[in-house]
Amino acid sequence: MKDESADTPRGNGLIGVVPIVLSAALFGWFWTFLEPISNGEAVRLVWDWVPAMQISLSFLFDGLSLTFALLISGIGTLVLLYSNTYLAGHPQFARFVLFLFSFMLAMLGLVLADNLIALFVFWELTTITSYLLIGFGHETEKGRRSALQALFVTGAGALALLAGLILLGLSMGTFEMSEILARGDEVRAHQYYLPILILILAGAFTKSAQFPFHFWLPNAMAAPTPVSAFLHSATMVKAGVYLMARIHPAFSGTEVWVWTLTIAGGFTAVFASVLALRQTDLKQALAYTTLMALGTLTLFLGQDSAYALTAFAAFLIVHSFYKAALFLVVGCIDHATGTREADILGGLGRAMPVTAIAAALAALSMAGVPPLLGFISKEIQYAGGLEVASSPVFVVSAVLAASSLMFAVAGIVAFRPFWRPPGGEMPKSPHEAPWPMLAGPVILATLGLVFGLFPGVVQTALVNPTVAGFLGTAEGAATLKLWAGVNLPLMLSLATFAIGFILYAVHRPLRAYLARLDAAAPNFDRGWDRFLDWLKGLAAWQTRVIQTGVLRQYMWTTFAVIVVGVGATLAIKGNVNLAAAFDDVTWRNTAILLLICAGTILTMITRSRVAAITGLGVVGIGVALVFILFSAPDVAITQLLVETLVVVLVAVALLRLPFLDKRGESDHRPADAMLAVAVGTVVTLTLLAVLNEPFDRRLTDYFDATSWPAAFGRNIVNVILVDFRALDTFGEIAVVVIAALASYALLRTTKGRKDP
């Protein structure tokens, strides 16, 4: 994957550069929306897609979607630049860039889509591209397993989401998000509010890896590091968070919403940050801190106050900055040293000074140290948590626990590897990463500092429009500032630092303890394996039961399903009038029908082959007589001809075949007979129900009227066959020819196969 030659800033030619330029252009385009939208405008772009089903390609640019779009395209540009060097010379680089760029487009479509169905389509596109990216290293079993796991978990959630979105669209009579959000009261009062909410949250929770669906995200780190930086920290996993934020105006405020999001988010945040501390792989540690961030974001989305939502917006932005930067830094470390083990790495500060500075800035932001944006964000989180009406103690303690643990993890990821002596032999001697790989982390980390010093920029450009997207107005949005005076949030911050520092100091012994605890706790990842095994067992079992390989059983099932399905439909909807149309029964007609029945029964019960052929012939002649009686001479002629051929062919075939039953065996099958009678009854009743309906002669009248004027034929049946439906007749001839050719081939090869 990496070799020494890749360490020079060398790209992959045009195929590496074009996506970078394109995504930078997209970023620039989104940038132009910044001013109108921060002035409170919203832009909608609409193209018709399937207008008959209210599905359109409509896009909405408002504060929330623009913030996401800018983050996606901005970080996307940096990640593409980074991977151009990180994967330089990789034989499958083109494939990688295609996936990554498609993912970016899908993600942009997802956050900008206004139509529920369009949103779902983009949602699934991100799932698929993410599957391909996680499985990029498909030579390893781990890569394949992780990719499949992510696909299954998020795909299953997406099915629930689709159901929820359709239910929502049908309930509200529109599939446009902007219209639905404007009618929030109706949504909350709707009788289907609860099922819709549960289904949508199932999609959001699986995508954003909320407990208990969290296990796929750390596994997804099997992807190349730039992918992890992009998908699994900054963008894709935030799709669920985005969706919850998007529907927040219409769905929030109910008890279910508040408690589900608060508890799931809070628990995920604390649970994940504890697990983050126990990881020794830097990337795994970061993966768990991402879970923590997703939990915290969900936690704040559960709330209604402007303060909490400001905390959401600020943390969303700051987390994207520092987490993407840190992932990229870990990629640099991995690239330079060949390992990501926290216990081995050390002393990199001298060899990789720029990386070290970027890492330090990003980690300080993550730890929430002033004067970085992370500090401001954390202050607002505390302030927002304290303002929460329902459960301030729970929210604040969750944030406190998670933030302290973050502080410790920041030290493990960004301080130890650079400034402490190494704990072991590193596979490669470290050296500074080339500039395209440094650009991303340096820019993102510096932004954290600049925005921390000048928070007003973020405030007006991103945070206020986002909050306005929730509440309709940005007036209640909290002001981001570095020094808010000595207050409770500041005290809590100081407590965070103290606890975090202690945790960092004792993290090594703590890690061993946590590892034991983790091993004892139920393991969701292994549970997943057991679930899959069970599923495969179920499939194998049902295949054994249904697909026995015995023709008779297949036929039995088919006919039984016909009896049950058609019979039940008849019983519910049928309109059978048994007394109808017996009036014109004549002796002659009855005799012909009795002839058919007699022939049928003879074929059924006889053990003699000749009698069976006779029975078939009798039935065929009887059917031909019916056609003659009821004014269908052409059909009768064909029937007679075919019936004769059938009898002749069977007779010829019998020369080569044994008797029907072996001596001493009989063909007495009562169960089959019962099923046969049931099928026959169902068919008769169905036909009677059909005959009971008024007859529609429109087509017949059309053929009667046009046969001569349009097609110059006096035999209407023939005209239909060779003119109106000539293509059908051509197809029929083709079928017969193919059957004849195939039969000929089969008969010719009869000899020879066994004795070559």
Binding site: A581, V619, P658, D672, L687, T700, A739
Partner: protein, 121 residues
Amino acid sequence: MESLLAITIGVLVAGSVYLMLARNVLRFIFGLVLISNAANLTIFAGGRLTEGAPPLIAEGADAPAGLVANALPQALVLTAIVIGFGLFAFALVLVVRAYTELGTLNSDEMRVAEPKEGPAK
């Protein structure tokens, strides 16, 4: 009259289902012949029965005089008869071929495509 025909069709279907459930594939073929007859009669009856008025246009006329039999189901049945015959002929050849190859007409013993569970041969 249609009702009586419907009952006859029921008998035909019952007979063919019984034959198609047999172990002997030759009986299955007999069932196939009967069930295509039943299907044809069903289409025919569905278009309603008319006695003694074939769908023909008299010389010099533009349209049939008065009510004639429904031509559409007749055309459909004509096609169906021929296709049904093609199917039957091919199935019969398959049976003959299967017998020469496998030495049995019992479908339970024809397990080449889906062998029984256990060690594959």
